[in-house]
């Protein structure tokens, strides 16, 4: 690290849990962020500010006016631009140490797997099930740890998976891939800072994973923005899961 980096990351380096070794680890890390919306915005900005060396951004959407109520990586001047480009510009403006890869496409599980081969961790910040199931398949295939997050209306949830751990469940152990649409923000709305709470927690779990290794798996964390309570629910691996038990 040069003098400017020592100063920039000084508040990290002061932490015994990070120190210079940990900060160097972050600078050498590569994280995939899938979805640059309400969750992906704070996730990308915190990881960039924290000095995660490489970020691969995946999205196929463009910035719209209705996004700006919560998707804080994007600006009014970015309306109509690809979300990955808009977020990449914000990241570069925050921290030139970060190398940003923009993937402006809708990918299959196979294509995700090709991209994930090069990363240390995958963060699912998407807003649709088809993407979540594709990410799940790709991570099981490449044995990459990942954190799935979602937020809608007043509810948020986070789940960490690590296919390299034998007892880790996968996303398909929880929900069936039956084409059901579930709850969507465009229909139910979502409270703006809820994305900050859940996205920041996801970024925090990401840094802990990069610094300390394997994530604690098999636990869903739920947050209720009405009473501000967190709840943990245990998720066991499904014995006959069609994705992770074959």
């Amino acid at each position: 690290m040069n003098d400017e980096q020592l100063l920039r990351y000084s508040r990290h380096i002061l932490l015994p849990e990070i120190d210079i070794v940990g900060q160097q680890k972050l600078l050498a890390s590569h994280v995939a962020i899938v979805g640059l919306g309400g969750l992906g915005s704070p996730v990308a900005m915190y990881l960039a500010a924290a000095g995660v060396g490489q970020l691969s951004l995946f999205d196929f959407d463009v910035v719209e006016l209705s996004n700006l109520q919560r998707q804080i990586a994007h600006r009014f001047s970015s309306i109509g631009k690809a979300k990955v480009s808009s977020a990449a510009a914000t990241i570069r403006d925050l921290n030139a140490d970060v190398q940003v890869h923009e993937i402006n496409a809708s990918l299959s599980a196979e294509s995700f797997a090709e991209h994930f081969a090069a990363v240390d961790l995958v963060l699912d910040c998407t807003d649709r099930f088809s993407s979540r199931f594709a990410i799940n398949q790709a991570c099981v295939k490449t044995k990459k740890p990942w954190v799935s997050a979602s937020a809608i209306a007043m509810d948020g949830q986070l789940l960490a998976f690590d296919p390299a751990q034998e007892d880790s469940p996968c996303y398909a152990c929880l929900y069936d891939d039956d084409g059901d649409e579930g709850r969507r923000c465009a229909e139910e709305g979502v409270l703006s800072p809820l994305l900050g709470v859940i996205g920041s927690m996801q970024a925090l779990m990401a840094l802990r994973s990069l610094l300390e290794g394997p994530l604690a798996v098999g636990e869903m964390k739920r947050f209720d923005a009405r009473d501000l309570n967190w709840q943990s629910l245990r998720l066991p691996k499904k014995a006959d899961c069609s994705v992770c038990s074959v």
Binding site: F129, G182, R183
Partner: protein, 72 residues
């Protein structure tokens, strides 16, 4: 018997299994509505669908029905 459903105390008839309880919710005129797709946590542990007919429901149980969430 009394159980907690998604954080609310409710009184329900006696059911032997989760399957029996969910079937009763799907019947016409049921006061409680059940979503089309949901995951189930009983006393803090997710229960796989295949275990619904083997999982008993007892007085004081805490049941959570989670609708899959897409939003991000």
């Amino acid at each position: 018997m009394n159980i907690t459903l998604n954080g609310k105390n409710i009184e329900i008839a006696q059911y032997n299994t989760l399957n029996d309880f969910f079937s009763s919710l799907k019947e016409e005129g049921s006061a409680l509505q059940v979503p089309k797709q949901f995951a189930v946590a009983l006393n803090g542990n997710f229960v796989p669908r295949e275990q619904y007919d083997k999982s008993s429901l007892q007085e004081g149980d805490e049941l959570e029905l989670l609708v899959p969430m897409q939003g991000g």
